[in-house]
């Protein structure tokens, strides 16, 4: 939880929600678990304002609460990872669309927008976006079941039956076995019917949720695992061949049910299991699969290895090593873009060979010795490389000392992650600045679009459109382009963040 991560998260809160929520989130991020009263005092907000903000954040799984029995009060703490998941939400919805289609995408998008939803709420909400609503509920339900079975959506902890009046906080708990338990369609339909009747009879929205309503939320861990797999497959597709990447995709799919989360490598999958599991349309024969596996274990040795010989050969995908390679590739790319190709060569050598002397660097890299010295000291100054001094004599005389240079990949990864968070924050801040600068124009365009929708005749439309001057139109185009660039850059920086943080999670 570094300063730049906190900055990035507060920017996300400010842009997506409002300043009050940002203030509360920021206070919790900077000060750790806190009480309600302390928050109100220190932030200058009123108690009910803080409560509203907290309610919102809790619903979005961004704040958690615990009861501190020692101090006898409730403590709220922030979950920065879930705040940053907002940035990644487009990637999540794209992933679901590619796997299960538009309906599933709509479900996930709605749940992400609302934090936690009950199944009737989900179905109602998604149905509104459908043009053709016939049999809509059943379709949505089936897609929902598919999402839960593949663990992309899970139940939120529910109120325990053992609650009593004296409990200061709601006792929310859930069993592992219940996490992915979907009620039957008939039950859901009944519930929806009951809701509709209540709505009709009371003629006002039913605010009070029933105590035993089941709420569902997006399983961020599962999505991150999926993205992890996608990243590895994409890398292998580039390094080896797209067909080889499909084989790895199948291997990962087969092992995802068997491997527990957070492990450095998958459970070994046998050759025959793999052959069986491969999609038929790839038409990969026994012989071809054997050949591809041989090439993979050589050309992509850090990503996939043969573990044993049983069942025609046992193969595992290595997450830890694979992500170490990807992290190093990012470090090299960053060094190359900032300092040049010669510097990239130097840092690659240092990452490949553990401790190298300056003379060895000069000989191996074949760079002019004067330049090589300059490069090494620049990288040293910017903390990409570190130096160890080994004295030949008892006194530390430079002439009689060995200087060994090396790269501490973990430390560099942390430094770059920090930089990435700062960049993310800057991109969001710039976006907000651009929107503020062009507020007048944006509002004008919105009003015009609303009115244009109501005008029928083309001549009148044209006449009306002339209300916006060419200069304003150019300005608006520039603004739209700027927003597009900033959004795209945000996604790209988030990809770098994902690789760096996944690597660091394995190396702990």
């Amino acid at each position: 939880m570094s300063q730049s991560e906190v900055l990035a998260c507060t920017c996300v809160l400010r842009e997506c929600f409002n300043e009050r929520i940002e203030t509360v989130g920021k206070y919790l991020a900077e000060n750790g678990p806190s009480q309600l009263r302390t928050m109100a005092n220190k932030t200058g907000l009123k108690i009910n304002e803080v409560q509203t903000a907290l309610r919102f954040l809790i619903k979005h799984n961004m704040v958690e609460f615990t009861f501190d029995s020692v101090k006898n009060n409730v403590l709220y703490s922030v979950n920065l990872r879930n705040i940053r998941a907002v940035v990644r939400s487009d990637r999540y919805t794209d992933a679901i669309r590619s796997l299960y289609g538009h309906d599933a995408e709509a479900i996930v998008r709605d749940i992400l927008l609302n934090g936690q939803m009950s199944l009737p709420e989900i179905i109602t909400s998604v149905l509104e976006s459908f043009a053709d609503r016939s049999n809509g509920e059943k379709r949505i339900y089936e897609k929902f079941v598919q999402l839960v079975q593949t663990h992309f959506v899970r139940r939120c902890p529910a109120l325990a039956n053992t609650m009593s009046e004296e409990d200061r906080i709601p006792d929310l708990r859930i069993n592992e076995s219940q996490l992915y338990d979907v009620p039957s369609f008939s039950n859901v339909a009944e519930e929806m019917q009951a809701n509709m009747q209540q709505l009709d009879s009371s003629k006002r929205p039913n605010d009070k949720a029933k105590i035993d309503t089941v709420y569902w939320c997006v399983n961020i861990d599962r999505f991150n695992e999926f993205l992890r797999d996608q990243t590895l497959i994409h890398a292998i597709s580039k390094r080896v061949h797209p067909q080889a990447a499909e084989i790895v995709r199948t291997l990962l799919r087969r092992s995802e049910v068997k491997s527990p989360g957070g492990v450095p490598k998958t459970v070994p999958i046998s050759f025959y299991e793999l052959l069986e599991e491969l999609p038929k349309d790839l038409s990969i024969t026994n012989n071809l699969l054997e050949k591809w596996l041989k090439v993979l274990t050589e050309a992509a040795a850090e990503f996939i290895q043969q573990e044993g010989d049983g069942g025609g050969g046992q193969y595992s995908v290595y997450f830890q090593r694979g992500f170490a390679e990807l992290c190093k590739a990012h470090i090299e790319s960053i060094v190359q873009e900032r300092y040049g190709s010669d510097s990239k060569r130097v840092i690659r050598i240092l990452m490949m060979k553990n401790q190298v002397e300056m003379s060895q660097i000069e000989i191996l890299t074949k760079i002019d010795p004067k330049e090589a010295t300059g490069i090494v000291y620049r990288l040293l100054g910017d903390n990409f490389i570190s130096v160890v001094e080994v004295a030949k004599s008892t006194e530390l005389v430079p002439k009689h000392t060995f200087y060994y240079f090396s790269v501490d990949v973990d430390r560099v990864a942390k430094m770059l992650l920090d930089r990435s968070f700062k960049t993310l924050a800057n991109l969001i801040l710039r976006r907000m600045h651009e929107s503020k600068e062009n507020k007048r124009l944006i509002d004008k365009e919105q009003r015009m679009l609303a009115i244009l929708a109501q005008i029928d005749s083309p001549e009148e439309k044209e006449e009306f459109q002339r209300q916006m001057t060419p200069a304003e139109r150019t300005q608006l185009e520039k603004y739209n382009h700027a927003m597009f660039m900033l959004m795209k850059a945000e996604q790209e920086v988030d990809e770098t963040i994902f690789i760096l943080e996944t690597y660091l999670s394995y190396s702990k």
């Binding site: 580039k238 990012h330 490949m352 700062k422 700027a482």
Partner: protein, 310 residues
């Protein structure tokens, strides 16, 4: 020590002693002290000393200074120092011998001073003398340009001193190297492209994409880009820099004769440019000072402004 210019008359029977001394020295290539030689023979010390002097005069044995400063006698190797009729004194001969011993690696002036224990001023004179007589020549090493090194006049300095073909004079010829580097990469890429078009199975495709050092060497020779003939080791060095650039992969295969051959193939990058570097903040030297509301901020950033209008 004996006076070299005086002729010593050889007496009969001394031949035998001399032969024995020479045989003994052959068996001890590291050299023996005069006293040690005496231990081996029953002849009187005087006799042995006399014969040692004769042999030295005939230049069949030579004396060397060992680490303790003592004198060792060794079988003389036919050398420049002795084979010519030289008008040089013993100090100059010593210096010449030291230079000769290191062969084509060259010896640092400071080292000569340390080993011969000759005073600096005198050493300078000796070196100057030997240079004018064209017996030795000064050279400079690429590894330490400031050190004055000397080598026998008729020898060429070896690779570690001159740097090989990549160095012209004392400078590393980076233009030449970059050209060769680009050429080698092109060969590897072309080979990969060629093999990709063939309808082979994956294993064969991978095997065929690799080129050996000699393949690349031949290709470079045929293209005639280099006026100088490059050695296979130098080609290996160039190909290794491609591996260090992340553009090539290196594999060692054992040949039928039991030797090792280096094989290289072009390799695709693992990722496109890192996302962080596609933003101006990735390159910015002032990121640590950048703060909203400060002088340097995202809202007022010039780099951002230029980047957004791109």
């Amino acid at each position: 020590m004996s006076d070299m210019t005086v002729e010593v008359k050889q007496e009969p029977g001394e031949d035998d002693i001399q032969k024995r001394i020479l045989t003994l020295l052959k068996e001890h290539p590291k050299g023996l002290k005069e006293t040690e030689i005496c231990c081996y023979f029953q002849d009187s010390t005087a006799e042995i000393v006399r014969n040692v002097n004769i042999l030295m005069q005939q230049n069949r044995i030579s004396f060397h200074l060992n680490k303790d400063g003592g004198v060792l006698l060794k079988l003389a190797v036919p050398s420049v120092a002795s084979s010519q009729v030289l008008d040089i004194d013993e100090n100059e001969q010593l210096v010449l011998q030291l230079i000769e011993e290191v062969g084509n690696k060259g010896i640092w002036r400071h080292e000569i001073h340390r080993k011969s224990k000759i005073v600096e001023v005198q050493l300078n004179k000796i070196l100057k003398n030997l240079t004018t007589k064209k017996l030795i020549k000064p050279i400079t090493s690429v590894l330490a340009g400031k050190k004055k090194m000397y080598i026998l006049a008729n020898l060429e300095p070896n690779e570690s001193v001159t740097g090989g073909n990549f160095y012209s004079g004392q400078q590393f010829d980076s233009e030449y190297f970059k050209m060769l580097h680009a050429m080698c990469y092109k060969f590897l890429e072309d080979k990969a492209e060629e093999v990709r078009k063939l309808p082979l199975n994956p294993v064969e495709q991978r095997m065929r994409t690799f080129l050996s050092t000699s393949d690349v060497h031949e290709a470079i020779q045929n293209s005639k880009v280099s006026k100088v003939e490059l050695k296979p080791q130098e080609i290996d060095d160039i190909l290794l820099t491609l591996v260090f650039d992340g553009k090539a992969e290196h594999v060692v295969r054992t040949t039928a004769q039991g030797g090792h051959t280096n094989y290289y193939c072009a390799v695709a990058a693992l990722i496109e440019t890192s996302g962080l570097m596609r933003t101006p903040c990735g390159q910015c030297p002032l990121l640590n000072d950048c703060k909203e509301g400060g002088i340097i901020s995202p809202s007022s950033c010039e780099y951002m402004k230029n980047w957004l209008t791109f």
